[in-house]
C-alpha cells in the first residue's frame, strides 16, 4: 500500500513553488527589459517554460516511470555524477535560503524595521522542518490548504478596477531601453521551481504530466493578470521607478474595514515562500539520500536545514541577498535546462543500445 501524488496536488504544488516573490517586482522587470507593453513577454516565456516541462514529461514517458537516478546510474557511474549532484544541491539549498532571506528583508524593510531577521529565519526553518518531516505526501496535503488560504487575495484586485485605464497601454510593443536576453532570464526565474518535479517520478499516479502544464499555466495566469493590471493602473514611468509595483498596487485597496491590504497580501505570501523552500529542500534531501543511501532521511534534513539557516544568517542586507539570488537563479535556470537535456541524452543512448542489442540478437 503506497500513497501517490494526485495530479491535482501536483498542479497546486507546481503553482505554489514557482517563485512567487518575483511577482512583486515582475511588472518593473518586464518594463525595464521589454519596454512598453512588456506584459506580453510573459506569454513568450510561458512557451519556453512549457518546452522545458515537456522535456521532463518525455523523460517520464521514455523512462517508463523510472526515477531520474535509476536512468542516470545505468549508464553513468554514481561517483562521476557526485560533483554535479552537489552543485544541484548547493544551488537548490541556496535558492531556498535566499528566497526566504529576500522575503524577510523586504518584510523588514516595509513593515518591521525593528524586528531581528534571525527570528523570522528561525520561524521559516521551523515551519519548513514541520512540512518536510512528513515527506512529500504530507507536504503536498499541507501545501494544497496553504494555497487555498493564499488565493482569496487575488479578489482584492477587483477593488482596483475603477482606477484601471486602457488608455495607459500604447500601440508600441517592446519599445524602450530593452535587453531581451537579461529580461528573459529575469522573467524565467519567476517560473523556476518546476524543475524539482523531475524527482517526482516514483511518487506519482499515471497520467500526471499534464498536471505540470496546468500548474505552470496557473502561475502564468496570475503573473499575466497582475502585470496586465499594473500596466493599466500605473503609467510606464511609474512602473520603471517603483521597486515593487505590486506592493504599491495593493496599497490602493480599500475595503469597508480595511485599507492598504499590501501588508496582508505580503504576509500571506509567506505560505508561497514556505512551499518553495520546502520543495527545494526536499529536492536536495532526495539527491543526498540517493548519494548515500545508508543514512536516514531525517539526518539529511537536519544537514540541509542547518546549511539553509547558516546561508540565510550570513546575509545582512537585501542588496547582498538579491545579488546572491540573481546568480543562483541563473544557475537554477541552467539546471532546469541542463538536467532534463542530460537525462534525455542518456535515455537516447540507452534506447539506441537496446535497439542495437535487439538487432544483434536477431
Amino acid at each position: 500500500m503506497k500513497e501517490r501524488l494526485h495530479p491535482l496536488q501536483i498542479s497546486i504544488l507546481i503553482y505554489m513553488i514557482q517563485n512567487g516573490l518575483v511577482l512583486y517586482s515582475l511588472p518593473r522587470l518586464v518594463a525595464e527589459n521589454f519596454g512598453t507593453n512588456g506584459w506580453l513577454s510573459i506569454i513568450f516565456i510561458f512557451v519556453f517554460v512549457n518546452i522545458n516541462i515537456m522535456m521532463i514529461a518525455i523523460i517520464y514517458k521514455l523512462g517508463k516511470g523510472r526515477s531520474m537516478f535509476e536512468i542516470i546510474e545505468v549508464t553513468v557511474p554514481k561517483w562521476v555524477m557526485v560533483p554535479f549532484y552537489l552543485f544541484i544541491i548547493g544551488v537548490w539549498i541556496g535558492l531556498a535560503s535566499m528566497i526566504m532571506s529576500a522575503y524577510i528583508y523586504i518584510y523588514k524593510m516595509m513593515f518591521f524595521p525593528a524586528l531581528p531577521a534571525s527570528l523570522f529565519i528561525m520561524f521559516f526553518i521551523f515551519l519548513s522542518f514541520q512540512l518536510l518531516r512528513g515527506g512529500i505526501y504530507k507536504m503536498a496535503k499541507a501545501i494544497v490548504v496553504l494555497c487555498a488560504i493564499l488565493q482569496p487575495m487575488i479578489f482584492l484586485l477587483f477593488y482596483l478596477i475603477p482606477e484601471f485605464e486602457f488608455a495607459r497601454y500604447t500601440t508600441f510593443i517592446f519599445k524602450g531601453e530593452t535587453d531581451f536576453f537579461k529580461g528573459a532570464l529575469d522573467v524565467y526565474s519567476a517560473f523556476l521551481g518546476f524543475e524539482v518535479s523531475i524527482l517526482f517520478f516514483p511518487m506519482v499516479e499515471k497520467k500526471w504530466t499534464k498536471a505540470l502544464f496546468i500548474g505552470n499555466f496557473l502561475s502564468t495566469m496570475v503573473y499575466f493578470i497582475i502585470t496586465f493590471i499594473c500596466f493599466g493602473f500605473f503609467s510606464f514611468a511609474q512602473i520603471l521607478n517603483d521597486i515593487f509595483p505590486v506592493m504599491t498596487l495593493f496599497e490602493y485597496t480599500e475595503v469597508a474595514f480595511l485599507t492598504r491590504a499590501e501588508n496582508l497580501c505580503f504576509s500571506v505570501l509567506a505560505f508561497k515562500i514556505l512551499s518553495i523552500m520546502a520543495l527545494y529542500f526536499w529536492g536536495a534531501q532526495q539527491i543526498l539520500g540517493n548519494m548515500i543511501k545508508s543514512i536516514k532521511p531525517d539526518f539529511w534534513l537536519f544537514i540541509i536545514l542547518t546549511c539553509g539557516l547558516i546561508l540565510a544568517l550570513i546575509q545582512d542586507s537585501l542588496v547582498d541577498v538579491e545579488k546572491w539570488l540573481k546568480w543562483l537563479s541563473y544557475c537554477g535556470i541552467g539546471i532546469a535546462w541542463a538536467l532534463p537535456i542530460f537525462v534525455l541524452c542518456i535515455l537516447f543512448i540507452q534506447i539506441l543500445r537496446n535497439h542495437k542489442g535487439i538487432n544483434n540478437a536477431k
Binding site: 518584510y107 523570522f120 512528513g134 496535503k141 494544497v144 490548504v145 488560504i149 485599507t259 496582508l264
Partner: protein, 504 residues
Amino acid sequence: MGRLRAIVKKMVFQEKTDSNHINNKHHLSSNKQASNEKSITKATYQKTLSDFGDSFDLVHRSFNHDEIHIVYLNSLVDSNTLEWEILSPLREMSIHNLEQSFQQSLFKQENNHEKVIKGILDGNVSMFAGENSYLINVAGLEERSISQSETESVINGPHDSFNEALKTNVSLIRRRVRSPRLKMIQLSVGEISKTKVLLIYIEGIAKMDIVNQLKERIQSVKVDSIPDSNVLIQIIDDYQYSPFPQFYTTERPDVAVAKLYSGKIIGLTDDSPNIFCTPSSFFDFFKSPDDYNQRWILGTGVRILRYLALFITLILTAFYVSICTYHFEMIPQSLLQSIMQSRSRVPFPPIIEAIFLEIVIELLREAGARLPTKIGQTIGIVGGIVIGQAAVEAGITSNILIIVVAVSAIASFIVPSYIMSSSIRIVRFLFILMAGFMGNIGIFFALGIIIIHLTGLTNLSSPYFMPISPTFLKDWMESIIRGPFNIIKKGQPSMQNDFEKERS
C-alpha cells in the same frame, strides 16, 4: 449333556455376576463422581462467597434443606423479577425439577468459576444446586431515561439521545437500522472494570480492514478501567499529543446512524452516553443534523457560516492585537479615530489587554458550564454585562476589544461539536501570542503551523483533512456544502473508495 448345561449355566451366572459387578462399579463411580461434583459445586459456592467477601450488597440464601444456594448482588438485580421468577418458585420446587422450572431464556448452566463471578457482576443470580451451578439473568440496573441531549441540541429533528445503558443505546440504533446487515462486535476493555465496548457497522458499506484495525487497537488497550468513550478514544488516537479531537463523538442516535450509513464504524462504551465514530475528518465536526432537516440552501448557508465562525474565532482577536500593535495603516481613517479614542485610556499594550479579556471569557464559560443552569445564566449576565462595562469604565480594556472578544467567543460556540470548539478556543491563544509578537505575519505563521499539523493528522490511517487535502472534488459538496438530496450521493462517500484506490 448335563455337563454342557452346567457350563452354560456357569457362564450365564458369571456374566450376570460380571454385569452386576460392572453395574455396582458404575453405580459406585457415579456416586463418587456426584459427590465429587457436589464438592466442586460447593467449592465454587464457597469460593464465590469468599471472592466477594463481606460486600454490603451481596446476598446468599439457601433453599430446600440447604440443597440449593443462590448468590447475587442486590444492587444489580431487579427485585420484582427476582421475587417472581426465582424466589417464589424456589420455595416450592425440589432439586429434581429445577431445570424445568425456570424460563429457559434467562436460565443458563455455568460451572466455570470465573464466568460465574462475571455473571454475578453483570446482574445475574447464580444458583448452586446439586452438582451444577446456574446463572439466571434478572439484571435490573438503575438507568436514566431517554432524554434530550444537553450538549448537542437540535431544533428540528429527533430529540432522543443516548444514555449510559449499553442495551438502551443499542436499541436506539437497532430501531433505526432494521437490517440483519447491522453487525456488532463486543469487546471488553479494562483489566479491572471489564467495560463492554461495542463496535457497530453495516456490512457491505463499512470497510472491513478499518473494522479489524479498530478492533485490534481496542484489544491492545491495557488499562485498569475505562470510564467513558472520550477516554477510550484518546487512548486509541493516532496522535495523542494533538490538541484536536480525531474521533467524532456524539450523543445523538440519528447522527450515529447517519455515520453508519456513510460507511463509518461507531463504537459504544457501556456507562457512557457518548458514542465515537471513525474514520472521522476535521469537517465532520462542523456538520449538524439540523443541516439536513431544513432546506438545502439554508443548510448550506449555516454550514458556511460555521467555517466563517472558525476563522473568526481563530483570527479576530489576534487581528485586533496585530493591527493595534503594528499595522495602524490598515484601519480606515473613520474607524481609526474611534479605536484610538477607546484605547487612549487603556494603560496596557493590546496583547495584555486581549489575553486578560480572553481569560475572563474562558473563566465565565467554564463557570457557566459547571454551575446549575439557573445560576449559570446569572453568571453569564453578571460576567458579560457588569464586568464588561466595569472593565471599560475602569480603563482596563477598550470597548472595541470587548466587541471583538465577545464576537470571537460567540463564534466559537457556533461549532456544533463541543470538544472541537474547546480545542479551537485553546488554539486561539497561539494566534493572539503570535500576533502580539510579530503582527500579521505572526498570524500567518500560526495558521501555517495549524494547517501543517492538521493536514498531517490521520484517524485510523485515514487523512484528517479529507476531502480538501487529499482533494476529492466530488466530496466537497458533502463536506462544505449541504447539497440538495437528489445530488448528494447515497451510501459510502467516494473519497474513502478513492483513497483506498490511491493507496493501493
